[in-house]
């Protein structure tokens, strides 16, 4: 290729200093203000494939049916099986089929939220694509990040995916009913979580048997209640 003589004369440096994901951040801010206007508590649920995200969400919404009104946005690579499972709890569910995408983006969540009736809802749960790397940089406009790991994945999982765990508000250790059989070193796991993610509230549960779920429900209900206007003082 021929060198263009004039190039060096007219070359100039432009300062940009713009976030590569700034477009996503704009959509996330839009989602956040929509959710805030509806006083919705929004959770972004993240884990590896097979940690039990869908079972956890399904059980939460089924058990809390009479106490909390919930809806779910499910991200999945190809199928709508998870949305069908969640719909059995009676909650509204919208599927986002991401194709080859390894994470959800705020714009997709905004569109999916548009398909839900957001009136009279307390909690919106976003089930992200099973992946502990790619979704970490994408703000969806959520209030809380809930990161799950299963006892069967081993106690060093937080060390393998520190970036994700450092962004967690809540860490759920699932499949505790079979932790012993899986040789799960509970003390080391909890210590790893505490040291990687000291900011996170930790719950040890089994979404299958219901073990430990009541503590999670009490915490979740309290967070939902904080979203509601405080009752006006009695006249």
């Amino acid at each position: 290729m021929k060198q263009i003589a004039g190039d060096s004369l007219s070359a100039q440096t432009i300062a940009v200093n713009e976030g590569i994901l700034s477009k996503n951040d704009v959509f996330a801010a839009r989602n956040r203000s929509l959710f805030a206007s509806r006083r919705l508590l929004v959770l972004n649920v993240l884990s590896s494939p097979g940690s039990g995200k869908t079972a956890f969400i399904e059980r939460t919404l089924t058990d809390l049916r009479s106490r909390l009104r919930g809806a779910v946005i499910v991200g999945d690579l190809a199928t709508d099986n998870d949305a069908k499972r969640i719909a059995r709890s009676g909650a509204q569910a919208v599927q986002i089929t991401t194709g080859d995408m390894c994470h959800l983006e705020a714009e997709m969540v905004g569109k999916a939220a548009g398909q839900l009736n957001l009136d009279n809802l307390d909690v919106l749960i976003i089930e992200n694509v099973g992946n502990l790397v790619c979704p970490s940089g994408y703000d969806l406009g959520e209030n809380l990040r809930v990161v799950l790991l299963a006892a069967t994945e081993g106690e060093d999982k937080p060390l393998k995916y520190p970036v994700m765990f450092k962004t967690a508000d809540v860490v759920i250790v699932n499949k505790m009913d079979i932790a012993e059989a899986a040789g799960f070193d509970r003390a080391t796991a909890l210590d790893n979580i505490r040291r990687i993610a000291p900011q996170a509230t930790v719950f040890e549960v089994s979404a299958r048997t219901g073990l430990g779920m009541e503590q999670w429900y009490a915490w979740l209900e309290q967070r939902c209640a904080q979203k509601q206007p405080s009752p006006s003082p009695a006249a």
Partner: protein, 127 residues
């Protein structure tokens, strides 16, 4: 991994800034990639060659500035680069620290140029 889509976003931002300057070519793209961005610089470099094909940034130099994680301990009022997985203050051992740097994924600056009528004439003359 989604470095191709990250690089596509970066290229779109770069082209937008190039057009705003009425420039027609991009020679250099300088990015900042934090240690906590979940993005692999080598994968970005590979993606760069692919996504710039046939664009005004084809053949441009990609510079990646790696930004290490930097934490701040409010108790000791010091900044430190954490060593390993656990972000513990080297002075007091506290885990109650703030992450100040390392999440960056930014397009820092560009070098662009405008192809003038003289340039075009010279090119034609040379052929």
């Amino acid at each position: 991994m989604h470095e191709v889509s990250i690089m596509q976003n970066a290229l779109e931002i770069a082209l937008e800034h190039m057009r705003r300057q009425n420039a027609t070519r991009i020679h250099r793209i300088h990015m900042r990639v934090g240690a906590l961005s979940s993005v692999v610089p080598e994968a970005l470099e590979f993606a760069f060659d692919v996504v710039t094909q046939g664009t005004p940034a084809q053949g441009a130099t990609l510079e990646i500035e790696r930004v290490p994680a930097v934490c701040y301990c409010p108790a000791c009022q010091i900044e430190f680069e954490p060593d390993g997985y656990f972000y513990e203050c080297p002075q007091c051992g506290s885990l109650n620290v703030q992450i100040r740097k390392g999440r960056e994924l930014e397009l820092a600056f560009l070098e662009v140029s405008q192809q003038t009528a003289d340039d075009r004439r010279q090119m034609t003359d040379g052929e």
